[in-house]
Amino acid sequence: MLYFSKIRIILIATFTTIFVYIFLSNFIKFDDNVFNKKINLGLDLQGGSYLLLEIDNTPVITQKLQNTIPELKKFFKEKKINLRNFKIVDDETLIFETTPDKVNEVKDSLLKKEENIINEYYPKYRAHKFDFSVDQNLFKLNFSKYGLVEIKDSSQSQALETIRRRVDEIGTNEPNILKRGNDRIVVELPGLDDPSRIKNLLGKTANLTFRFVIKGSEETFGSEKLEFEDGSEEAIVSKRIILSGDNLLDAQPSMDSETSETVVTFNLDRVGAKRFGKATSTGIGKRLAIVLDGKIISAPVIQDAIVSGSGQISGGFTFQSATDLALLLRSGALPAPLNIIEERTVGPDLGQDSINAGIMALAIGFLLVILFMFFKYRIFGLIANITLILNLFLLVGILTLFEATLTLPGIAGIILTVGMAVDANVLIFERIKEEKKGEKNQLIAFDSGYEKSKTAVIDANITTLIAAMILFFMGSGPIKGFSVTLGVGIFTTLFSVYFIARLLTSLYVTKNKHKEKLI
């Protein structure tokens, strides 16, 4: 156990030097550009906001069921089957009836596997888009588990894109936007200490439509009663959509030169411009409601035909609200409303305080352990301490190499590693002491001390590794950072104990083998 070949010594030395270099690159700026990675600081250390958003897919599901009605009608009409009494119940079930003699035919069409255009079959899940049940001539249609998965996945991807555009527009530095599960999205915004604006922006679906106001005060089949944004009045608005947010090319806040009011100006794509031109030329004198997320922003009276494809929205905006509205319109609508279900925000000065406290605790813990080991083992304590320092460099070096995220619990993990890392050396040293009692030859005692303590050292470290791995897979955020440092710490500890410390021990012992009391 004590013999090291030259090549091994060189390998160990090189490996260690590389990681010391990587460790130092966090603190010293090297000009050579060989290595310019840095350890990432978690939101709890650098300050920032973490938001967990959940997509409310209910409206999407209802809408998709709604869209299924005409498809089904059309499909079965071609087969001369008449479906009637369509109804959507509980936002998730579509009910319809057919004549009793056609029940089996409808059933067969819904169950078909190849090229089923009304109830798509997913070979990868071996399931249809819809599950259904039949009660006499009454059909009940639900999205199957996998049909829901498809819907959720696609609305999650769309939402992610929209969120990314909105967050990018605000210009926070290095935002991190990730999917979680199939209906959640994590938004991490480093450096942001007040997320209220972003929460406002993400909380809006930003579904924009232009629709005519209908005279009268009662809702009819093709119209609905909507409130104004400021709650001042209500109006009956047609359900027919003239323009939607999809037709917008650009939107910007600006100042109306005549009224000196803050407005949002917009440009339309070709289709949108055409429709807008037609609607405004035929509708002169009518009121055109601009509806955002089910509320009327404003409903101006059309004075002239607008054929240029650009226009403006006024609605008593402040400059801030006009800027936000323009931003929302530019970045497009979310497929479904989002709910913020978790939020954690740390101010930058608390983050800095945490870093300071963490470093302080690390320094003191480190110092105490080093002093203790030195007094307990003297020269071997020194070896253990050099190992411990290099272990720390290796640990931080590896975290840097993988650009891991360091959190406050992560720092605690490093300190804990410092406390526990000496355990391996202690196990070995104590074993050597025991071996020396029955063995005259010191070299053999050292050798068998290393050999016999091996299983205990490895077993002891594996148990901690198991705990760290479970934490890694089950934990979230800062806690994950703890499990990473704890887990990586075990590997660096084993390396430093079995290569660095053993090498140092071997060098010392072979030089001083004739000394009476080595340890």
Binding site: S196, K199, N200, L202, G203, N339, I340, I341, E342, E343, R344, T345, V346, G347, L350, D353, S354, A357, G358, A361, L362, I364, G365, L368, V369, F372, M373, K376, L408, P409, I411, A412, I415, L416, G419, M420, V422, D423, V426, L427, E430, K452, A456, D459, A460, T463, T464, L465, I466, A467, I470, L471, M474, G475, G477, P478, I479, F482, S483, L486
Partner: protein, 299 residues
């Protein structure tokens, strides 16, 4: 031979004490329960720092009580000027909630304060976090059980796992007794305790197994004592260095890590104790002998 400590003389005494502590902890956990933080209960946590000397716990509490936030708790957090506010919030979906709250507080307290940290956890997330925390702890216990079973024999596995239950239960019992907050970092601490306590037990077990092979004529009752003594200085040194590290986190690592490091300190203490006084007596109780090991090796 060095002077050896007759640990085995006190097996019975400490087993009775441990049993009592476990029963007491279970009673506390059932009847008093745990003080779950916002991570597991849901609600809002605000860390507030004041620059105005006139702001105190009582006037923060008074101004918050006027806002109808439900059960509000306000207490000092570390220093004189830092406060921790907790309440179960109702309207989770208002994105301006925190800024509104700040404005309302400012109107009654003045502007001499700032929010340093805000955590909002919805009921769905908190129940998921609680569930995954419990699963993580259960999983780690199961993983340890299996690992020891593979490495040793079932008698050892049982001893180690009972020692773990003992450590986790008593640590949680103490948290319940003093009403200390249970949050995500406590779960991390409990898992680390599981790892540490196991580590300690394994080292002694490793020695017990070695000695079982070496001495066929020594009864397990004395054999465990020999093994404990042989590994004693290692047990003490490792506990000391780990505790040195933990105490420096506890004292200098800031308020946020207080609960975590306290749980770990308790865990290291009970982990070390249980390795000696729970894990080993189980081996004695199960009458582990040289045969136990040799049988395994024949297989």
């Amino acid at each position: 031979m060095n002077k050896s400590v007759p640990f085995n003389k006190f097996y019975r005494l400490f087993n009775i004490i441990s049993s009592l502590l476990i029963v007491l902890s279970i009673v506390l956990l059932i009847f008093k329960g745990l003080n779950f933080g916002v991570d597991f209960k849901g609600g809002t946590l605000i860390e507030l720092r004041t620059t105005d000397k006139n702001i105190s716990v009582s006037n923060i509490r008074d101004s918050l009580n006027q806002l109808n936030l439900g059960d509000v708790s306000v207490k000092n957090f570390g220093s004189e000027q830092d406060y921790l506010i907790k309440f179960e919030k109702k309207d989770f979906n208002n994105p301006d909630f925190i800024s509104d709250l700040k404005n309302k507080l400012a109107s009654s307290l003045g502007n001499g304060f700032e929010f340093r940290r805000v955590e909002n956890v919805g009921p769905k997330v908190s129940s998921e976090l609680l569930k995954s925390g419990i699963i993580a702890i259960a999983l780690s216990l199961a993983a340890m059980l299996i690992y020891i079973w593979i490495r040793f024999e079932w008698q050892f596995s049982l001893g180690a796992i009972l020692a773990l239950f003992h450590d986790v239960l008593i640590t949680l019992g103490i948290f319940s007794l003093f009403g200390l907050e249970i949050n995500l970092s406590i779960v991390a601490a409990v898992l680390t305790i599981v790892g540490y306590s196991m580590n300690d037990t394994v080292v002694i077990f490793d020695r017990v197994r070695e000695n079982l092979k070496k001495y066929s004529d020594i009864k397990i009752f004395d054999l465990t004592n020999i093994s404990i003594n042989e590994t004693l200085s290692r047990t003490i040194i490792t506990s000391v260095t780990t505790l040195l590290a933990l105490f420096s986190i506890f004292l200098f690592g800031g308020e946020i890590l207080k609960g975590f490091s306290l749980a770990m300190i308790l865990g290291v203490f009970f982990g070390t104790y249980s390795s000696i006084y729970i894990a080993n007596p189980i081996l004695v109780f199960l009458q582990v002998s040289q045969k136990t090991i040799l049988k395994e090796e024949k297989d």
